[in-house]
């Protein structure tokens, strides 16, 4: 059976990892290659590089950084942030990205999903959605989660998959940063036949156990700070998941 994936997410600005990482044995590392190697050796199943400046300042991703990582790390790499056109896809794919996640760019122009899926295949196109509860429903937000689009999230994601997105990242704005667990209710509401990556809310190992147990349709759990600050180490996380009968890749 397929293993449940554990995905650290690295925010990048000007080719350096923002905030860096700081825990025993790895102090204040902000070099993307060094960090990516560390996570890869620790058993990360995939890495997400997110350009946190690009989506609203229109900055180009620092492809040099991506290229350097892809030259040294041989696990799947997903890139997001500021992907608005097919040229953006082309630019990051040439630098070794395997999957590209679209968010605001697809909201502005949904046909981007269809065009990219046709040109590079659905497996390459990830639809990332920032979702928040508004008036009893799930609403999609754009611009880094700051702007209410008025769109129903479940409907938008379904549309994105129909257009050709081969994977969905559902980021709950409501649970993001709260560290009290993934948004199980929101994830359960999602009904798509492509892989789903849960994002937002992981505070500890038990949150991942609960995620995979309660929402079997979720394929992967994504988190940032708990990995970067050493609160959760991937080998231990996978050990506990395995003990709970959840299939994981051990290295």
């Amino acid at each position: 059976m397929l293993k449940k994936r554990i995905i650290p997410c690295l925010d990048v600005r000007n080719g350096r990892v923002v905030k860096g990482v700081n825990f025993e044995g790895l102090n204040d590392v902000s070099d993307p290659v060094e960090l990516a190697s560390f996570y890869s050796d620790d058993g990360a199943d995939e890495l997400v590089f997110y350009d946190i400046t690009a989506s609203y300042e229109g900055r180009r991703l620092f492809t040099d950084c991506l290229r350097a990582v892809a030259e040294h790390i041989f696990i799947p790499l997903t890139v997001g942030g500021g992907i608005n056109t097919i040229d953006d896809f082309d630019r990051v794919l040439k630098c070794g990205a395997d999957k590209i996640s679209v968010n605001s760019g697809a909201l502005r122009n949904p046909t981007l999903i269809a065009e990219a899926a046709k040109k590079y295949g659905s497996q390459c196109v990830v639809l990332s959605a920032d979702v928040k509860r508004v008036e009893g429903g799930f609403r999609v937000f754009s611009h880094g989660g700051r702007q209410d689009t008025g769109l129903d999230a479940i409907e938008w994601i379904r549309q994105g998959v129909a257009l050709g997105a081969g994977e969905v990242v559902l980021n709950s704005i409501d649970t993001d940063g709260v560290k009290k667990g993934f948004d199980l209710e929101m994830l359960q509401a999602l009904d798509v036949d492509v892989p789903v990556v849960a994002s937002g809310g992981a505070g500890g190992i038990s949150d991942f156990v609960e995620l995979f147990r309660e929402v079997p349709s979720v394929d992967a759990g994504l988190a940032a700070s708990i990995f970067h600050f050493g609160e959760v180490r991937i080998p231990k996380l996978k050990q506990v998941l395995a003990e709970n009968g959840i299939p994981v890749r051990r290295i």
């Binding site: 892809a70 041989f74 794919l93 295949g121 497996q123 892989p195 394929d219």
Partner: protein, 204 residues
Amino acid sequence: MLAIVDYGVGNLFSLCSSLKSLNQPAVITSDPKEISMAERVILPGVGAFGDAAEKLRNTGLDTVVREQAESGKPLLGICLGMQLLFEKSYEFGEHAGLGLLRGSIVPMKGTIPEGLKIPQMGWNSLILRRNHPLLRDIKEGDCVYFVHSYYADGCEDSLIASCDYGREITAAVASGNVMGCQFHPEKSGKVGLSILKAFCEVAV
């Protein structure tokens, strides 16, 4: 020198990087002479079978690859490149492959249980079916990275490893000097690198 056959399909960045990290000189080429002179050949590929088979034929590289295989040179097909080694595929119609291995490429849809997502995308563990130098460093249960919606069927005579995705799915094949992986060794971490290394060291 190792030749990676370039017929306009797929992204070769990671494959090149992984070979470089193994200190294996490789060249991406569509030049028949260069391919003929290489010690080993890799046939990569992503996308649809029909398009890829047509591109191989239109460039005349189908003949070149077949000649290399018949000359006894180690040949490794990766992902769609592996599928192309077989006789035919039923992906969007019926298309002829290189016919170097016995078997055909069939859809997962309808042959795996309902509820399993297609494509199979992610890490799955290998079930070793036959000893082969390509898998010399691989242990039962080692995980590799798959992205595919079709798989090789009727290839028991070349099957060396499989995985379980609701049914047994062909993961790696070999018959003499002709080898193939359905998964992406260049995206499968250290396990994948060890398979590429083994290919680079298979006796010529």
